[in-house]
Every structure is written in structure tokens, then in C-alpha cells.
């Protein structure tokens, strides 16, 4: 059907590849911050993820008899990698990330027809799968250097990831619960939030060491992506505004039980989600208003799961749930076409 030549004959030279590379670039500040606070674990995880990605994508493309090179080099898989490696504990055993990526690429992407056809965010699908299958491994987070007093060398991380133990430091000194977990557990034992925030995981601004910095780095990368039009403003705007409104309201009514805004914004994967995960265009709503609604919906769900749900962090589930509403949102948020009544 497609005739070889018909207008337009010119293009702005943007490409999927460039968009995806931009996203990668934007993740670099967060990567460096992460290394600074949590050690080199993440670089090992990243490398593992990349190899898994290349292997699995090649295999799947071959199986689906698609050309390997153009699809492998569209770099869309990199987004999945970024989404996932930042979400798993830096010193998690090697098979965690390998299974996660494999699951994400096969079940989250290729079984639906590959790039552009998957209804669920592959990274979040992989993460949810890991969290349900390996709850113990997934919650053993490396503590920030400031908290544990240890900085893991590259070899330490390497040994931890591949053998599960190192000789120099006892494991329980360097791993522990995430701040989100800490607050939640404390609340269940009757310790109010402000008291927990005085604890050793938090600095003098009552924001968690390490986590806050990584979140801020993501924020900076996110601004860069907004400026280079790699992502659309409606996602972070809808997500962050809703999050701020919710956490501010609850905190204002009941500061004993509900953490303040800055805690919610700067812990867990919040900024990662705001700029790198929910912005995945394939699985999100595509209309301008729809994007905003979609992002707000995720924020509501994240807040609900964080405060009342069974998991400390709810981004993955929130995203997956909102993915299901996308066709519905799209249908009811179509913009007004020029020449039709307002």
C-alpha cells in the first residue's frame, strides 16, 4: 500500500534511537549519585542487565523472525534496564536482575508484539514479578555509606552479587530496610512518624541519606529530558502535583501517622517513577489531558499503597494498574479538533 514516495519529503531527523539515548543520558547523574551513596553494586547490575537484554532481545527477535539489528538498536530496551536496575537492591544476587530483565523483555514486551504494542510497562512488570517471587532478596537494601559507615569497593559488591557474602564486613551491618519500610514498620509497632524521622537513616532535614540525593539527581535528569522533549511535562506534573497535594493534606491533618511531603517526594523510587517510568509513552495515555490523569492516578495509587498497602513501595503496582485504564482514559480525553465547537 505504501507508495515509495509521497509528501512530506523532509524530516526533523529525530528518531526513536535519539529519544531513548537522551533518556539514558538523563539517568547518568542519578547513576553517579547512586554509586556515591550505595557503592558500585549498581554498575554490576547494569552490566548484567545489558547482557541479559541483548541476549534475550536477540533471541526473541529471531524467534519472531524480525530483523535483529534495527530493533536491537532502537535502544528501547535500555529504558527497561534503567527502570529496573534502580529498583532492585544494589547487592541483590545476580540471578535477580537476570530473571527480572528476562521476564520483562519476554512477557512485558515481545509476547505482545514488541516495541509499541505492549500494554504494560515492561520494567514494572519485571519488578512486580521479582517482588512477588523473591520478597526477601528484594527488600535487603544496601545501606547508604553514611548510615552503615562502610563504603563497598567494587570487589566487595562483585563478591556479594555473585557469591552472596564477603569476608570483611558482616552482612547485617551493610544491609537493612529502606526508609519507606522503616517508617511503615515503626508505625505498626506504635512509633509515630516524626520519631522515626529522627532516626539514624535520616539527615538533619529529616530526609533519608542517599535516597534523597538519588531522587534529586533523577529530578535534574528529568528537567533535562523535559527540555529536550524526550518526555512530556504532563506526566511529572500530574504525578508530582497529586503526590504533593495528597501527602500535604494527610500530613496536615495527622502528622503522627502520615509522613511529610518531602519524605514522600525524596524516598523510594519517586522521582525515578515521575520522570523515567510513568513517562514511558507506549504504555501510558497518549492525549495531553489523558497523560495528566494517568499520572495523577498513579500518584494516588502510590500514596495509597505506601500508607495502607501491604508493600512499602507501590510504584510498580500503581503503574500496572493504571496501564489497564489507558484505553479508557484515551477515549474520554480526546482534544477538541479545530473547527468543532468548544
Amino acid at each position: 500500500m505504501m507508495a515509495p514516495i509521497s509528501s512530506p519529503f523532509t524530516h526533523n531527523n529525530n528518531s526513536v534511537r535519539k529519544v531513548m539515548l537522551n533518556v539514558q543520558l538523563a539517568a547518568l547523574p542519578a547513576l553517579f549519585t547512586h554509586i556515591y551513596f550505595f557503592g558500585f553494586g549498581i554498575t554490576i547490575q547494569w552490566t548484567l542487565a545489558m547482557f541479559t537484554l541483548i541476549a534475550v532481545e536477540t533471541l526473541m527477535l529471531k524467534l519472531r523472525s524480525r530483523p535483529v539489528w534495527p530493533y536491537l538498536t532502537d535502544f528501547s530496551g535500555l529504558i527497561t534496564v534503567t527502570g529496573l536496575v534502580f529498583c532492585i537492591p544494589p547487592e541483590a544476587p545476580w540471578w535477580i536482575i537476570v530473571t527480572g530483565i528476562t521476564f520483562a523483555i519476554i512477557f512485558g514486551k515481545h509476547l505482545y508484539g514488541g516495541l509499541g504494542y505492549n500494554p504494560f510497562n515492561p520494567a514494572m512488570l519485571g519488578f512486580a514479578f521479582l517482588l512477588i517471587s523473591f520478597p526477601y532478596e528484594m527488600t535487603q537494601w544496601t545501606l547508604p555509606t553514611q548510615v552503615s559507615g562502610h563504603f563497598l569497593s567494587f570487589m566487595d559488591s562483585f563478591n556479594l552479587i555473585f557469591t552472596g557474602h564477603i569476608h570483611t564486613i558482616p552482612l547485617d551491618q551493610i544491609t537493612g530496610a529502606t526508609p519507606l519500610d522503616e517508617v511503615k514498620t515503626a508505625l505498626s509497632t506504635g512509633v509515630p512518624v516524626p520519631v522515626t524521622l529522627e532516626g539514624e537513616s535520616f539527615n538533619r532535614f529529616r530526609i533519608p541519606y542517599g535516597w534523597a540525593a538519588v531522587n534529586i539527581a533523577f529530578f535534574i535528569g528529568g528537567i533535562w529530558m523535559l527540555m529536550s522533549r524526550s518526555i512530556r511535562w504532563q506526566y511529572p506534573a500530574g504525578f508530582l502535583i497529586t503526590m504533593i497535594i495528597l501527602s500535604a493534606t494527610f500530613n496536615w491533618f495527622d502528622p503522627e501517622n502520615y509522613a511529610p511531603v518531602r519524605f514522600h517526594l525524596l524516598t523510594g523510587g519517586l522521582m525515578l517513577a515521575a520522570f523515567f517510568i510513568i513517562t514511558d509513552p507506549v504504555t501510558s495515555s497518549t492525549t495531553p489531558l489523558g497523560r495528566f490523569i494517568y499520572a495523577s492516578g498513579i500518584a494516588v495509587l502510590v500514596y495509597v499503597i505506601r500508607n495502607w498497602g501491604g508493600f512499602p513501595e507501590g510504584i510498580a503496582f500503581a503503574v500496572l494498574i493504571m496501564n489497564m485504564f489507558v484505553p479508557f482514559i484515551d477515549q474520554y480525553t480526546q482534544p477538541r479538533v479545530v473547527g468543532y465547537r468548544k
Binding site: 514516495i5 509528501s7 512530506p8 524530516h11 526513536v16 528501547s76 509499541g116 497518549t286 473547527g339
Partner: protein, 634 residues
């Protein structure tokens, strides 16, 4: 207010240094793109005039509408400005000889059209004398006072929209004065590479202004605004100078594609949207291209028809791109060769700009009234098309605020009802969406395809509906006839009974009927013989009697004599026969079982539908062939 808005503009301009797309907030319409313009290429070389090529090829159709008919024969000598083709049969614009010479052939030739087919054209061998008929339109130079008078001249001069659409201009002008509130002069010229309007405004601003005044005067418009993109500073200057003592306002507008689109420029200059499925004229706006206005000026003042136009010959494949005032009928290739191609032109030239132009199947085609640009861009490696990632770039670029990504999704899946719901018919095929798509999807091609498919489907549906209606009408008629016949028979029976009661000898009912008929006829036409009309012969009577007999014997099915042949296909007839039978069965069954009836009539309906479908299919097949033939000349 003024201060606030200029502050806002300054702020946006500042932001746009960090975030270029912030510029989208500087104008009235949605979306838009900022391509590389390359306008300096053709502007840096002087305007060429007075090129008289050896042969001119003039297609008989250079406008939207129907083809004109040649008024000259092979071997005729023609003079410049002489009308050589016209037609009375419908919307069209006459064609005039661009210079003097001899008609050497009237035959199909390639013309710049996406179909790439040969179309009937007049071929003139020029003699270089350029002898002309002055004031061929016989005007007195006065500005027409009524729209009708203006329309007449414009029509005779063969003027069409020269911005690209090619709609005959006279048909665009309203019949009544004061229908047009604002006349907009389109000097936006937003396509990259093209500078012919720019050049025209720089060199002939006064003529354009006079053309606008002529139109304004004749139509009684209140306001004339000229929109020029702000990358054409020289044109703005010369135009402002020409407008100095007139009521015409010059309005520099943002440089953004597609500013020159009718809907977009109206939005920008007047802040109003033309409602969907309406024309600009419905909101009291008339938009005209600068070249068209100049042609009007020449027609009204000197009586000269449209025989030449400004054309840009440009492209990255040319050493010395230029603008020319070229005679209609000049070959693309000839002009391109004059611009010193960097490499042999063995690739398709493009008519128009890179965003909405048409790639040519044959490069040796003539300049026609709508040709604004001959573009020679050597082919670039084709990017692989990737799947849509729903990034929404296309949506943000669409000047109509459509959802190109959804349109694409549904077009691809052939869900044309969805495509229509997403308002594909409001798409102006500007190409902004394709331009920005990071997946390099040829989106506009999908919309063109979807549009033509939907049109086809609609046509088929209309045909099917017509067939269905005809069929229903026929069933109705048959039922009515049957009822009438039965009534007649009843009446006759009654008459016969009366007669038999009167006559002592009983007759067979058939004979009785015949007799009754004869009697009735006699009674009705007592003077038949005297007036020379044929009397029913005995044979006729017998036939009539026989017919009635059969009717009596089988009242339910007997009425179905052969249906009047209206050239229906056999399949349809069979289906109808079946339907009819079923219907009749239903009728007979009606008395005994009430319940069975609806079901049966349903199946009859189904049969009818089937029959209609078959008929429609047949028509479709026929129509497509017909259409292909008629399309042949678009």
C-alpha cells in the same frame, strides 16, 4: 494589555532559547513545525524572465473541476493570450496561449500530478515572435462594481488559486456584495525552499495591492489584511510601502509551517476558526494568494489572461537555484537544467515544497497554473520505519489538533469507522506529523489511504441503500398490485354472480369472467369502434379469461407472473424470487399461525437484504470500472 502581551512574547522568546518548542505559544493555531527553510538558495540569484521554450505543453485541466475542450486544431497558428481551450460543461477555467506559435499536437502528455498519468494536452511549437492579442478580455480598465462583473472577468482570464489548490477563482467569489467581511491576502509562503511569492511581493507589491483593492471594491469588503511571514523582511517592506496610502493592513506573522494554510492564517489574523465542513466564506472571510491577486489585476486592468506565473526552481541538487516568471507549459526539466544541477537529474523532481509537494513520475512535465516550485532534492537514504511509540510528537505538531497517532493506529488496523470518528476528514495533509515522527512513519500516506477507502465505502453504502430502497419499493408495488387485483376479482365475482342469477343457464366461471370482461369493455367504450381503436378480438378475450382462470385457481402464488424486467442481474432476481415466495408463504400462513408470520417475514427481509447486497456488489464492480475511467482525468 499591550505591555503584558509583549512581555509574554519576550518571555516566550527567552524560554525558546532553552526549549525551542516554546515558540509554539507565539501564534494562534495549535502545533506547527519549524523546518529548515533554505529560502536563501533561490533568493540569492536574480529573477529570470522572458524564457520562451521551443515547445509548450498545456494540459487541458490545470485546476480543480472538469477538463476543458480544445478550441484549436492541430496546425492552427495561435497568438499570445488567445483562448485555446474552454468548456461550458462545468467548473473549469479556460486556458490561453502563453506565446505565439503553432499547435502541433493535441494528445495525452504527462502532467505534474501524483497519478503520473498522461492527460490530454495542447502542444504548441513556439515561433519566438511573441505576437499577442492585446486586451483579449475586452475590458475597459475600470474596476468592476459588482461581484458578478468581477467573476466574469476572472473566469474569462482563466484564473485559479495559485497558492497550490487550483480552485477556479471565480467560483470562490461570492455572488452578492458584502458577504465577505475580510479579505485576507496570503503572503505567508510557509513551505521551505519556495520563494516565488516572496519574490513577487518584492518586485510587484503595487500590482498585488491593486488586485486586492479591485477585489475589495467589487465585493464591498470591510477589511483587507495581508499576512506575511516575518522571515520575508524585504517583502514586508515593499508591501508596506505599496500599502502606505491604502486601507490595507500589513500583518507580519510568525514564521512557522503551516502558517500559509487557509485555516491557520485565518486563525492567526482574525482569531476565528472556520467550523468543520464549512468554507471560509461562511464566516465572511475570503483568502487569496498574492499571485492570484496580481493575475486579477492584470485581467481587470489590461484584459490579459493568466499565461505565466512566478515559479521557484530550487533544491539542494542545484548549483544556481532561481525564481522565474515562467510561461505555463514550460518543462520542469528545462528549468531545472538552467539552474546548473550538481548531478544529473535522474531522481524524481518535486512539484511544490518538500512538505506538501508531489513527487513526479516523469520529470518532463509542464509548469501549470498551480506550480509554485520545482524542487530538485537528491534522494536521501530512507530511514527504517519503526513501530509507533505513542510519543505524541505528531499530536503536538498537528495544526488541526487531531490525534495522528490514534488515526494511524486505526488506519493500520483498517478500523475505518474509528478513523472517521477521529475526524480524519479534517486533516489537511500538511505533513507536520510525519515530519516530527521519531519512528519515521509515513503517517500522511496512511491518512490519504484511509480517506480514499472511507470514500469508497461510503459510496458502496449509498449504492446498497439505493438498491435496498428500490427493492422495497418493488415489493410494495407488487403487494399493492396484488391487493388491487384481488379486489377486482372480487368485484367481478360479485358481478358474475349477479349475472348468473339473472341468466337461467349456468356457465363455467371462466367463460363468465370473459363474458363479464367483454361486457364491461363494451359498456365502458361504446364508441371504441367508431373512433378507430382496436376492438378486443376473440383471442384477446380468451387470453384474458385464461389469465383470470389461473388467478382464481392459485390465488396465492399465481399472481407472480414474471416480474417486470428492469435489467436486474440474475442473482438478484433469484434472490428476490425466493424472498417473494417466502413472503407469500408467510401471508398464507398468517391466518393459521400468528406466531410464524413475523419469523417468516424476517427471513424474507433477510433475503431481501441479501438480494440488495448482491445487487450492490454488482454495481460496485461496475462503478469501480466506471470510476477508474473517470478518474483517469483527474
Amino acid at each position: 494589555m499591550q505591555v503584558l502581551s509583549s512581555l509574554k512574547v519576550a518571555f516566550i522568546k527567552w524560554v525558546s532559547r532553552l526549549y525551542p518548542m516554546a515558540k509554539r505559544n507565539l501564534y494562534q493555531f495549535h502545533g506547527g513545525i519549524f523546518p529548515q527553510y533554505h529560502k536563501e538558495l533561490s533568493l540569492s540569484h536574480p529573477l529570470k524572465r522572458g524564457i520562451i521554450p521551443k515547445t509548450l505543453v498545456l494540459p487541458l485541466r490545470q485546476h480543480l473541476g472538469i477538463r476543458t475542450e480544445a478550441k484549436v486544431k492541430v496546425g492552427d497558428r495561435v497568438l499570445k493570450n488567445q483562448c485555446i481551450a474552454d468548456t461550458e460543461k462545468g467548473l473549469s477555467a479556460p486556458i490561453h496561449a502563453p506565446t505565439s506559435g503553432t499547435v502541433v499536437a493535441i494528445e495525452p502528455r504527462y502532467k505534474p500530478h501524483p497519478s503520473g498519468l498522461k492527460k490530454l494536452s495542447i502542444i504548441i511549437e513556439t515561433d519566438g515572435l511573441d505576437e499577442s492579442i492585446e486586451n483579449v478580455l475586452a475590458v475597459d480598465g475600470a474596476h468592476p462594481d459588482s461581484p458578478v462583473a468581477l467573476k466574469e472577468i476572472v473566469h474569462q482570464a482563466g484564473i485559479v488559486g495559485m497558492g497550490g489548490a487550483g480552485f477556479p477563482t471565480f467560483a470562490k467569489l461570492p455572488e452578492k456584495r458584502n458577504t465577505v467581511k475580510a479579505l485576507l491576502v496570503n503572503g505567508a509562503e510557509c513551505e521551505p525552499f519556495i520563494t516565488c511569492d516572496d519574490m513577487l511581493m518584492q518586485t510587484h507589491a503595487d500590482e498585488i495591492v491593486k488586485g486586492a483593492q479591485i477585489v475589495g471594491h467589487a465585493l464591498g469588503v470591510e477589511q483587507i489584511i495581508c499576512g506575511i511571514e516575518d522571515n520575508k523582511q524585504k517583502a514586508i517592506q515593499s508591501f508596506s510601502k505599496a500599502c502606505a496610502d491604502t486601507e490595507i493592513q500589513v500583518h507580519p506573522v510568525m514564521t512557522v509551517y503551516p502558517m500559509g494554510g487557509q485555516t491557520q492564517l485565518i486563525q492567526e489574523l482574525l482569531g476565528i476558526e472556520v467550523p468543520s465542513e464549512h468554507h471560509a466564506i461562511d464566516v465572511g472571510v475570503l483568502m487569496m494568494n498574492v499571485a492570484t491577486l496580481r493575475a486579477i489585476y492584470h485581467a481587470v486592468t489590461f484584459g490579459n489572461p493568466l499565461i505565466s506565473r512566478f515559479v521557484t526552481i530550487s533544491g539542494l541538487g542545484l548549483e544556481e537555484p532561481f525564481n522565474a516568471e515562467a510561461l505555463l507549459g514550460t518543462s520542469f526539466l528545462e528549468l531545472a537544467e538552467m539552474a546548473k544541477p550538481k548531478q544529473p537529474i535522474d531522481y524524481p523532481l518535486v512539484q511544490g515544497g518538500p512538505l506538501m509537494g508531489t513527487a513526479l513520475h516523469h520529470n518532463n512535465v509542464p509548469i501549470i497554473k498551480t506550480t509554485n516550485c520545482v524542487l530538485a532534492n537528491p534522494p536521501k537514504p530512507v530511514e527504517t520505519v519503526m513501530p509507533c511509540i505513542r510519543c505524541g510528537e505528531c499530536m503536538d505538531a498537528c495544526p488541526i489538533n487531531l490525534l495522528p497517532q490514534q488515526l494511524y493506529w486505526h488506519s493500520r488496523n483498517h478500523e475505518f469507522d474509528q478513523v472517521e470518528k477521529l475526524k480524519v476528514f479534517d486533516c489537511i495533509e500538511c505533513g507536520c506529523c510525519s515530519f516530527v515522527c521519531p519512528s519515521h512513519i509515513p503517517l500522511v500516506q496512511y491518512y490519504r489511504h484511509a480517506k480514499s477507502t472511507i470514500k469508497d465505502i461510503r459510496q458502496k453504502e449509498a449504492m446498497a441503500e439505493l438498491a435496498q430502497k428500490r427493492h422495497e419499493f418493488k415489493l410494495d408495488r407488487i403487494a399493492r398490485e396484488k391487493a388491487e387485483r384481488e379486489a377486482r376479482i372480487k368485484a367481478k365475482k360479485a358481478a358474475v354472480k349477479q349475472k348468473t342469477a339473472q341468466k337461467p343457464q349456468a356457465k363455467s366461471s371462466a367463460a363468465a369472467a370473459a363474458a363479464a370482461k367483454a361486457a364491461a369493455l363494451k359498456a365502458k367504450k361504446p364508441s371504441a369502434t367508431t373512433e378507430g381503436q382496436p376492438v378486443l378480438s376473440a383471442r384477446d378475450k380468451a387470453i384474458a379469461a385464461a389469465k383470470k382462470r389461473t388467478q382464481k385457481a392459485k390465488p396465492s402464488t399465481g399472481t407472480e407472473s414474471k416480474a417486470p424486467s428492469d435489467k436486474q442481474p440474475d442473482a438478484r432476481q433469484k434472490a428476490m424470487e425466493a424472498a417473494r415466495q417466502r413472503r407469500n408463504q408467510a401471508k398464507t400462513a398468517e391466518d393459521s399461525t400468528d406466531k410464524a408470520a413475523p419469523k417468516d417475514s424476517k427471513s424474507a427481509q433477510a433475503a431481501a437484504k441479501r438480494a440488495a447486497a448482491v445487487a450492490a456488489a454488482k454495481k460496485r464492480a461496475k462503478k469501480t470500472t466506471e470510476k477508474q475511467e473517470s478518474n483517469d482525468d483527474t
